[in-house]
């Protein structure tokens, strides 16, 4: 029997996505017909059935691609297969943006707005602060923003109370608001839900999510190594961040956690020193009240980004830097 080539192609492409998704079927999101393609590869199979199969795979494929937002998709992914009372479960909002479109960091920079989530959670579950991968500078003119292009995952820890009853399943729902921009900006929103079992057994990772979480953790800023020292001084127009790393560094970019401290668009002037660097950051024109400390992310190379929290040196120069204790920052 003749089978149109197009149909075969349609069948093959979504199959790989389907297989990636199959591991998550136990999460209650998928899918009774997940095994169908293995049985139905025979080209002699009646044409109508193949057509229906192709159609159903299209639906599954669309599901796998996530919930639409303007010029992209977002998917809510759990790191573990179930919720365990007394433990923390990490959830990821995985954004996949069309080429050229971006979303924003916790501090969006000169324009834009960070994604916001409102949770609907059953009693016994609470959220921790969102973990933000190291952003990029967007724009190179008088307006500079901080955000993400292509694919990014934002992680939210969900803490399950000790007393959470380990029976049945529970639904976690997130109402997401996100601004998506290229040259223009489009606000979007999406409601994302996961239904997960609640068990007393220790947490078990979901194999289909493990790699996504491993990859994103590499892009999270880390605490500053204990033997590195960073200090902060100021003059009328600038802050000067001085780092002692024990070796010279010819690259450094700073991303401020708070808005309106440094001039986002101003060039960050780097002076390599014998044991590190000095980075001059122009103060923001919107900067009106003196600051006690500067918090943010210091990027030294593609795989080296660090959270810093540096008190401003008083004229007597009596204090030292401290690194943030955790890789999570709150706002």
């Amino acid at each position: 029997m003749f089978v149109p080539r197009e149909m075969l192609r349609i069948r093959q492409k979504p199959r790989t996505r389907l297989q990636r998704q199959k591991g998550r079927a136990h999460m209650g999101r998928l899918v009774d017909h997940a095994k169908m393609p293995e049985r139905n590869l025979n080209p002699e199979f009646p044409r109508l059935l193949i057509f229906l199969l192709a159609l159903s795979l299209c639906v599954v494929g669309a599901r796998a691609a996530g919930t639409p937002i303007p010029h992209g998709t977002v998917e809510l992914i759990a790191e573990n297969q179930w919720i365990t009372s007394g433990h923390t479960l990490n959830l990821g909002f995985r954004f996949q943006m069309e080429k050229g479109w971006h979303i924003y960091w916790i501090n969006p920079g000169d324009s834009g707005e960070a994604p916001k989530v409102k949770w609907q959670l059953p009693a016994g579950l609470t959220t921790g602060p969102m973990e933000w991968p190291t952003p990029r500078r967007l724009g190179a003119t008088s307006i500079v923003d901080y955000g993400y292009e292509d694919t990014v995952m934002l992680i939210v820890p969900i803490h399950a109370n000790q007393n959470l009853a380990a029976s049945g399943s529970t639904q976690l729902t997130a109402d997401l608001r996100v601004l998506v921009c290229r040259e223009v900006c489009i606000p979007g929103n999406a409601q994302l839900s996961l239904t997960l079992p609640v068990k007393s057994q220790p947490p078990a990772p979901d194999p289909s999510a493990t790699e996504l979480f491993t990859v994103v953790r590499k892009s999270l800023p880390r605490p500053l190594p204990a033997n590195w020292k960073v200090s902060l001084a100021e003059d009328k127009d600038s802050f000067v961040l001085a780092a002692n790393l024990g070796h010279q560094s010819t690259q450094a970019i700073f991303f401020p956690l708070a808005e309106s401290q440094i001039d986002n668009a101003a060039p960050q002037k780097l002076l390599p020193t014998a044991a590190g660097f000095r980075l001059t950051l122009r103060k923001s024109d919107q900067f009106v009240k003196p600051i006690e400390r500067l918090q943010g992310v210091l990027v030294l190379s593609a795989d080296q980004s660090y959270l810093i929290d540096v008190p401003l040196s008083k004229p007597d120069g009596a204090n030292k830097n401290t690194a943030l204790k955790s890789t999570r920052h709150d706002k």
Binding site: G112, S142, V184, Q251, A265, R282, D285
Partner: protein
């Protein structure tokens, strides 16, 4: 992040050395003089309005943050309220030709009529010259100039940096606060804020 991306970032840092950044006016400085053509065809010179409070409103009719204030009627209300008290209000259109928010004079006149907007005038700034003079970064960024010609406020229109119409009634409006405080002879409590919204669509803007 790929190495090539990082390299691009560094090039970006090195390249952004616009002298406009250094010379743009700050709160407390004299407001930079400008001359512009309004959508009604008249020529407007800022210094002609010395002796009055002047509000500058950066506008882009396609920006959802601007849309929040026009769809809710908030911007029109502010324009009517303050021009009614003798304040001069200029809506400024700094989008470059071909970019979102760029309009011809007649398009803008139609828009003002349709939205029942009531600025003193809408000023066409397709070169971005006025925008750069004031370091306008977003629409709707707002600036307030006092009768002595000094910049007394620059930043956001209010304290709710969202596109949600429901946020308008509960927001604290920084422009009204600055005008009220200055008119009462007081210090402006919040003279500078982060101006939320869409980036101004200058000819060189890519995002």
């Amino acid at each position: 992040m790929k190495r090539s991306n990082l390299a691009t970032m560094f090039i970006a840092v090195v390249l952004c050395t616009s002298p406009l950044l250094i010379w743009a006016a700050k709160v407390g400085d004299p407001a930079p003089e400008f001359t512009a053509t309004a959508s009604n065809g008249k020529t407007v010179r800022l210094s002609d309005y010395r002796g009055k409070y002047v509000v500058l409103e950066w506008h882009n009719n396609g920006c959802p943050y601007v849309g929040k204030h026009y769809k809710s009627g908030n911007m029109q209300r502010l324009q009517k309220q303050w021009t009614g008290e003798g304040v001069v209000w200029f809506t400024i259109l700094s989008s470059a030709p071909g970019k979102q928010g760029y309009v011809s004079a007649s398009d803008e006149n139609d828009y003002l009529a349709k939205m029942q907007a009531a600025p003193t005038a809408a000023l066409l700034d397709p070169t971005g010259e006025i925008g750069h003079l004031y370091d306008a970064k977003t629409s709707p960024q707002m600036v307030v100039i006092n009768p002595q010609g000094v910049l007394i406020y620059s930043g956001a229109i209010d304290d709710k940096p969202t596109t949600d119409l429901q946020d308008v009634p509960t927001a604290t409006n920084y422009v009204s606060l600055a005008l009220q405080q200055a008119m009462a002879g007081k210090q402006v409590e919040t003279p500078a804020t982060r101006p939320y919204g869409c980036s101004v669509k200058y000819a060189d803007s890519r995002h």
